[in-house]
């Protein structure tokens, strides 16, 4: 991946973003998916949820995206871990993914990780 200036957003589920997770790193590029629970026009901070997990998203750099509570969104960006250990994703891109099958998404993600691990062990 060193050849590309833009880092790929690793595919993670919201419940994997916790302090003891390997994805919980300052500046980590991640792709997250969740249902919009709250959105503030003043701060451009969104909160997305998936199951029992939630994550704050800073959407100030996103244009042409309208936010509707209850809709499902996907964001790619960098994780900012604040001094109190709260994480906020600084979104670079985002889109509405209403209609996504989240069960299929999470199951496919496990298959994808397994495939990638197998491929890397037998190049």
């Amino acid at each position: 991946m060193a050849s590309s200036a833009i880092k790929s957003g690793a595919l993670v589920s919201l419940e994997e973003i916790h302090p003891s997770s390997p994805f919980f790193k300052q500046g980590a590029s991640l792709r997250v998916t969740g249902k919009l629970q709250e959105y503030s026009v003043e701060t451009a901070i969104a909160i997305v949820i998936d199951g029992n997990a939630n994550l704050k998203i800073n959407t100030q750099h996103l244009r042409d995206l309208s936010f509707r509570v209850g809709s499902v969104y996907q964001f790619i960006g960098e994780l900012l871990i604040q001094p109190d250990n709260e994480a906020i994703l600084q979104a670079r891109v985002g889109r509405n993914v209403d209609g996504i099958d989240l069960n299929l998404y999470h199951q496919s993600l496990q298959l994808l990780r397994q495939f990638q691990a197998d491929h890397l062990s037998t190049p």
Binding site: M1, S3, S4, A5, I6, K7, S8, G9, A10, L11, R31, L62, D64, L65, V72, Q74, I76, R92, V93, G94, R95, V97, D98, G99, I100, D101, L104, Y105, S108, L109, L111, L112, F115, Q116, H119, T122, P123
Partner: protein, 167 residues
């Protein structure tokens, strides 16, 4: 056709990490100075689906963009120089006009954050694998990327990796 060439003219569906780890070998052909292979099988075309995460337009020259499928970021170049390139000067003007119109339409559809399916030739720029784009389809189905992962995994296991000359 020998085993090494069995996928040569196919748009192989590959995940980005797989595209980025293709083996590059200098070739003796002047039109294709580098050949690309995966596990010993020669490839010339690929298909990828992902989210557009960068976009740099040089009007009348090219649109360079990055497509991120969650396993890597693939650089893509869409040429927009059909009326100034000597390569197209040899072709009939109506054909060139159609190709140019399609390329301009694709360029307008490539927007940051959109999910797109991109097909094209596998090329190399400054040592890194990239795709020289021939087709773009913006995906409206939010499950398109998930289904692409599954296609890539299934094709690799049932087709691309089967009988590879250099597994």
């Amino acid at each position: 056709m020998d085993q090494r060439h069995r996928l040569y003219n196919t748009h192989v569906k590959l995940l980005a990490f797989d595209i980025l780890s293709l083996t590059q070998t200098p070739s003796h052909s002047s039109s294709e100075p580098i050949s690309f292979s995966r596990k010993g099988t020669l490839l010339s075309r690929a298909e990828t689906v992902g989210t557009i995460t960068s976009r740099e337009l040089k009007p009348g020259k090219f649109l360079k963009f990055a497509i991120d499928d969650g396993t890597g970021c693939v650089s893509c170049v869409l040429w927009l120089n059909h009326f100034s390139s000597p390569y197209f000067a040899r072709r009939s003007p109506p054909d060139v006009r159609l190709i140019a119109e399609a390329a301009n339409r694709f360029a307008a559809e490539i927007r940051l954050g959109a999910a797109a399916r991109v097909r094209g030739r596998i090329t190399s720029y400054r040592g890194a694998v990239q795709i020289t784009v021939s087709d773009v389809v913006v995906e409206r189905d939010p499950n398109a990327e998930t289904l692409h992962w599954l296609h890539c995994i299934s094709l690799a296991r049932k087709c691309y990796d089967v009988g590879t000359p250099n597994k």
